[in-house]
Symmetry: C2
């Protein structure tokens, strides 16, 4: 009992000793290469009072794309997995889907044919699966899915396929009084139920594509009903429009990974004073995926050229990140257990040794 | 010289002595009547950890209407003054307006006839005066106007016609970790240039009506062009829609003053847990204006009935506020001067007295 208490105290002191080491490097998953140095240099100069690049706290706005920038997007946008799962779930209420494309292909598990109809097919499936409920019910549907559905290749929860280096960057910016926003082509209501828990970004700082909603009183209870009608597409030219609509202030830092972010980059870069544009370049086929100019998802072509001429920061996932995904929770717990066990053994050993020493003294 | 130094020290100590007294009442412009007590009771219970009504910081969302709730709205919405001033300003570029209604009436100074065309005329004038520029240019136009234009009755800047008790309430909520938002039928881009300075509410926490914008590259420079097309009307049923779109979280406190806020009240009140609904009732014809059920601007009729059946808090401007508008800056400076002069005189007197006393001692 006493030993355990002592051990706990010892473990705590070990933990507290470990803290300052961590505090010196808020972004340990980034290698000490050019991108990390560029980020730190930028943040230090805009936060240094009296510096010609100083930016007041209220104007420290940072915007991040989501798919391919904060989490993976292969072999297709994760929201598409949600759409297909939801079609299967709703099928019993839609017997007509058996013979109606693109739904029929989804139900047969033939995703390629389902997507053959292009954008039109995708919008049709999006509406059928995202509209028709109240906002409250839809939030529950998304929450249920995101906490259980797994990625077909990695077998992980989709929220475990977020990028550890980007989580560290978000936290580093917030510690430096930046307000971090998501500006994604993905559905705003598909992201909001989990972004606060996963990224530390609250719903009011999430900007995305949306369908229209309508206020109604149902038996005296006010609800917002989701309508099968596009409200806003937050992609390409839409990104600066969405940023202006929601934030009303130009970002000083923008991060993305594809041509869909190009206009956000241009809009951000064109502001007065210091700006930072970062692009996650998917170069790591082993730990994640490798794709750019010719990809059907997250194509990075024009923005790659413009990054080179304008001096934007290209993050080479393979070279610049020493870790891609966070350590899964169970492994984390395992590591913690191992660490504690090891510390305990060492502690016990030194305690026994000191007893032996004492004995030898007495003797 | 020495005397001045001493005096400064004395004045500073007087000022610091005055501080604790202020700290005990964060809302001195509110009389100690039911509404103030209800606000304080609500804030104390939702911020008290362990209380069954406790609300985590992230969920402390408070929404405020603007016209008639944070600033006056008589004899017409202040944005209408902006529209008319802008029509006069733009007239040289629009010779056709001389013979075209409603513009012709505005140019003749006949506002009543200009408004005779109802909503349609207002929208036409709104588009003609709010669209056609870039967002950057429009921001400058609004800033120039709001810092110079004066209210025809009071002769004050419009931003000096904000309600002092509401400024105190906003600050009180923020000190208690609430995030304060504006949810107004007014133009979002008409409010954002000045809300941070005047209310302490940053642009990203302003929700309002808007026209569409379009991203363009002009000589390689990215701009957002304001189009003569309605994007969103943030009024009545639109308010909960706008809240959901921008915040994605239900407020726990909502303040307004008219039937245009009714749906925001209903939406806020229908959430789980403690809620606060407040209504500014314009009852003070002497210090401001008195109007409710029959007013053409800011009509308060249905919401007044519902407030009574649902126990929402009605703020009687005449009885519950001991001050309506802030002390104008020049008067403030005058008061400060008077105060310092008085303190200086007293100090000089006591100093001379003590010298005399000393002399008398010696003698």
């Amino acid at each position: 009992m006493k030993l355990t208490k002592l051990f706990v105290l010892a473990a705590l002191s070990v933990a507290s000793l470990a803290l300052p080491a961590f505090a010196t490097d808020p972004m340990p998953s980034w290698n000490d290469t050019a991108p990390k140095r560029a980020i730190v240099t930028f943040v230090e100069k805009v936060t240094k009072e009296g510096s010609p690049d100083f930016v007041p706290v209220a104007e420290r706005i940072a915007t991040f794309d989501n798919d391919g920038c904060l989490w993976s997007e292969q072999p297709m946008y994760f929201q598409a997995f949600f759409i297909f799962d939801r079609i299967k779930q709703l099928a019993p209420q839609h017997p007509e889907w058996k013979d109606k494309e693109p739904f029929a292909s989804v139900l047969k598990g033939d995703i390629k044919s389902a997507l053959a109809g292009g954008e039109h097919a995708l919008i049709e499936m999006g509406m059928a699966t995202h509209a028709g409920t109240t906002t409250e019910k839809f939030e529950k549907i998304v929450t249920d899915w995101i906490t259980t559905a797994k990625h077909p290749k990695t077998g992980r929860l989709f929220t475990e396929m977020v990028y550890q280096p980007m989580l560290e960057l978000l936290a580093y910016l917030r510690v430096n009084s930046f307000k971090t926003f998501i500006v994604s082509g993905g559905g705003i209501e598909f992201m909001r139920p989990w972004t606060e828990k996963v990224y530390g970004i609250p719903p009011e700082q999430v900007i995305g594509s949306s369908i229209k909603t309508k206020f109604e009183l149902r038996d005296g209870k006010p609800v917002l009903v989701r309508l099968p009608e596009i409200n806003f597409i937050d992609d390409k030219q839409g990104k600066p429009v969405g940023i202006n609509q929601h934030i009303g202030r130009r970002p000083i830092l923008a991060f993305g990974n594809s041509d869909g972010d190009l206009q956000m980059f241009q809009w951000t870069a064109a502001g007065q004073g210091s700006r930072f544009i970062g692009i996650v370049h998917h170069t790591d086929a082993e730990r994640e995926w490798a794709y750019d100019r010719k990809s059907h998802v997250g194509r990075l072509d024009k923005a790659l050229d413009e990054a080179k001429t304008k001096g934007w920061t290209l993050v080479n996932m393979k070279k610049d990140w020493n870790r891609v995904f966070p350590i899964p929770k169970n492994e984390q717990q395992l590591k913690q257990k191992e660490f504690l066990l090891l510390t305990y053994k060492r502690f016990k050993f030194s305690l026994e040794k000191s007893r032996l020493d004492q004995k030898s003294c007495r003797w």
